[in-house]
């Protein structure tokens, strides 16, 4: 048998070039371990004689086992881009998140204590009470976390993005929705003082000024201001929005992930691509990586310590992602020349869609789309033009995959996607965690009660349920999706049945197929059949869809279009061979789970 050369052994042990042979050969493995021990000895010798003690923990000699696990975990994650699915811990809710943070506060590590102090801030009064009970200073949990670099970037965006608003006698919500759409930011109104922006009617006109100025002009006279925290623009009366002062806690979905520790090790990889892949995977794992990240603060590798600290800080910073879909970006960049004549809401939106080449469809709406409205008769960004058309009607556009869906302004559909854990008021978060654990119980009664409690909690439980569907094993994921659909069946970014299937290339071509259709006042059943046929498939519609509607769409992908058309009725679709089956959401989940 040919053994590894001394150079190969050293390259392997020093991380320059991992060897496929060394882990499988006992003799070479022994030599590699001796080299690793030499490294530790040199490190110890230099640190022992140095005036600067560097924090370190004993370097594991079994680095080879960690390397194998790392490669396996990274291969898994690359193959399953949604992230590793973990078995839910046997129907037990996670411990109180404050337990961990308080233990770290009392620990010997200065870095970990500092990380715990920063992490406590969002918990607010819930943490303060607990700190007092543990004999620690409750002030550690009071006060809002310091704004992060993302908040500074958001502030800069508001100071540079120019807006033009001319709205008469509309709700403050409508104007804020318009600003959200134009600026691509999330704006929340602090309603704790009894203020209802939906009912506060105002007239507001500004031309080509920065969004920051527009907000100040609108809010100032109403004794309001805006505060940026955690990537969200809060409209509030006081210095701190009440939701931040009251305190929140994360909703942790899964137990500790075994994929996390090698990913933390990989934060110290030589290659930038490997480091970034590890960071991205750890972000997707969320709190399932928490334990490994805390341990990463003790790594002998300074690179690992730094990056683990950053990821831990992000984990405990409640925020929403402000990512903008590519379609929205395209719409913002597209120019709309303006239209000289009045027309119905429907015709004006359809014309904008035709001019820009961006598919826009209407959801089921209460609004009368045939009503004539003033046109957007000046040239500018197509997104601006669309916002001007929709906001006065309290409508909004949600970008779903490759189409835009026009829906009611107060529909609980979000433009932004969560990248991190959901943050809720402390007690609510703990309740959601308990009931999510119930969904994994072997006891059907407990599962049923858990689901009922989550439905009772309503919209706050929605995002944790969607995250659970991405992180947990298929059976629990299906239950989570069912429960989410019961809270709000019109949650368009819930995966459809076909999204959860492993489709053949032929099936994928049908779902991804581009369709164009113009049809007026025809039952939805016939519309879906026509769309599927255009995409090269067959249809089997097992639930009644007799409602007549009109559709005009050009070059829209079939999959998202089916979601938009079926979801309002509590329906969904999946593939059987070349047939698109449309059925109730529950039946589709059951069929896909088999």
């Amino acid at each position: 048998m040919t053994h590894a050369s001394p150079v190969e052994l050293h390259d392997h042990a020093y991380g320059f070039r991992p060897s496929a042979h060394v882990p499988d050969c006992a003799e070479c493995r022994r030599h590699a371990e001796t080299i690793s021990a030499e490294r530790s000895a040199i490190r110890d010798a230099l640190l022992g004689g140095n005036a600067v003690p560097l924090r370190r923990s004993p370097a594991p000699l079994a680095g080879l086992a960690a390397a194998v696990l790392l490669l396996a975990a990274l291969a898994w994650i690359l193959f399953h881009p949604a992230g590793p699915k973990e078995s839910f811990p046997a129907a037990q809710a996670p411990n109180d998140p404050l337990d961990r943070l308080i233990a770290e506060l009392k620990g010997p590590s200065k870095e970990r204590r500092a990380a715990a102090e920063a992490a406590l801030k969002p918990f607010g009064e819930a943490a303060a009470a607990r700190l007092e009970k543990e004999g620690l200073d409750p002030a550690l949990a009071r006060g809002v976390p310091a704004p992060g670099p993302e908040d500074a970037a958001l502030r800069q965006k508001l100071k540079s993005q120019r807006v033009t608003i001319d709205m008469q006698n509309v709700s403050m919500t409508a104007i804020l929705n318009h600003l959200q759409a134009v600026c691509g930011v999330r704006i929340e109104v602090d309603r704790s003082g009894g203020r209802d922006p939906d009912k506060e009617m105002i007239s507001f006109k500004v031309a080509d000024i920065v969004a920051d100025g527009a907000l100040r002009l609108m809010l100032g006279p109403r004794q309001l201001k805006y505060v940026i925290q955690g990537g969200i623009v809060f409209v509030t009366e006081g210095e701190i929005p009440s939701i931040l002062a009251r305190g929140r806690a994360p909703v942790r979905i899964a137990g500790a992930s075994p994929a996390a520790p090698p990913l933390v090790v990989a934060l110290g990889s030589e290659g930038i691509a490997a480091r970034e892949a590890a960071e991205s995977s750890l972000r997707r794992l969320g709190f399932a990586a928490e334990g490994a990240l805390w341990d990463g603060l003790d790594s002998p590798d300074a690179e690992v310590r730094g990056r683990a600290g950053t990821l831990l800080r992000e984990l405990y910073l409640p925020r929403l992602s402000n990512s903008v879909s590519p379609l929205e970006a395209r719409l913002r960049a597209a120019r709309y020349p303006g239209k000289g004549t009045e027309g119905s809401i429907r015709s004006q939106v359809e014309e904008l869609s035709a001019v820009t080449g961006i598919p826009l469809v209407f959801a089921t709406l209460k609004t009368d789309l045939s009503r004539e409205i003033f046109p957007v008769n000046w040239p500018g960004s197509a997104l601006d033009a669309l916002s001007h058309l929709l906001a006065p009607e309290n409508l909004k556009v949600v970008f779903l995959d490759r189409i835009g869906v026009i829906t009611e302004g107060d529909a609980p559909i979000d433009r932004t996607r969560w990248d991190g854990p959901a943050w809720l008021p402390y007690e609510e978060a703990r309740a959601v965690e308990r009931h999510l654990a119930d969904l994994a119980s072997p006891d059907p009664e407990r599962r049923k009660n858990g689901a009922a409690e989550l439905v009772r909690l309503g919209p706050p439980a929605l995002e944790p349920l969607l995250q659970a569907s991405r992180l947990l094993d298929p059976a629990v994921a299906a239950r989570a999706l069912d429960t989410a659909a019961r809270i709000d069946s019109w949650r368009v970014d819930v995966p459809s049945g076909s999204d959860l299937q492993t489709l053949t290339p032929a099936q994928q071509r049908i779902v991804d197929g581009s369709v164009s259709l113009r049809i007026d006042s025809v039952p939805l059943t016939d519309i879906i059949a026509a769309l599927v046929k255009t995409s090269g498939g067959r249809s089997d519609i097992r639930a009644p869809l007799d409602r007549k509607t009109s559709l005009k769409v050009t070059d829209a992908p079939l999959g998202p279009l089916l979601k938009a058309l079926t979801r309002p009725y509590g329906l969904d679709s999946y593939m059987v061979g070349d047939t698109v089956v449309v059925d109730t959401a529950a039946n589709v989940r059951a069929a896909v789970a088999k």
């Binding site: 320059f16 490294r39 230099l46 600067v52 560097l54 670099p149 002998p300």
Partner: protein, 167 residues
């Protein structure tokens, strides 16, 4: 706060507090004298703060800082004629032997530290940055303006020299 946060907010005091120890440690290892190391560390920070605008946020700050420290120490040693002006850089991989336990014996710990001190400057700095300051190879390469392969070769040359000295 990250290094970049501190730089953007102008909090150089915290930057110095964070990195004074490692920079002093590097200088101490390279110069062999505590007073000289203290002066070198102060000069390093003075230069870094004066040239913060030249720092490229795409690369880690500590690598940039150690590059300033390494260059300053090299200049000091050259002025004292303790370093040749243009040292010949051997770029060939040395003959490496299979390891034994010479470097592992506890009684050799002090001898090992002293042996590192006696290494040629170009080898000693790589050893110090890797083992003591725990920089990644790419960071060492950037700090010393050499390739990662050159870091590898110098590390192995240092290892060979240390094994030979402790035999």
């Amino acid at each position: 706060m990250t290094d970049l946060d501190l730089i953007r907010s102008g909090d150089t005091v915290e930057l110095v507090r964070r990195y004074y120890g490692p920079v002093f440690g590097l200088a101490r290892r390279l110069l062999g004298s505590v007073p000289e190391a203290r002066d070198a560390a102060q000069e390093t920070f003075a230069r870094a703060i004066a040239h913060l605008r030249d720092y490229d946020p795409a690369s880690p700050f500590r690598g940039w800082l150690f590059a300033i420290a390494a260059n300053h120490v090299r200049d000091l040693l050259r002025k004292k004629k303790l370093l040749p002006l243009d040292p010949a850089v051997e770029e060939e991989l040395p003959d490496l032997s299979l390891p034994d336990d010479r470097l592992l014996r506890a009684e050799n710990c002090e001898r090992l530290a002293a042996a590192v001190d006696r290494l040629p400057f170009d080898l000693k700095i790589v050893v110090t940055l890797h083992f003591q300051q725990e920089l990644a190879y790419a960071e060492i390469a950037a700090a010393l303006a050499i390739s990662v392969n050159a870091v590898r070769i110098r590390l192995y040359r240092a290892l060979g020299a240390l094994r030979k000295e402790l035999s």
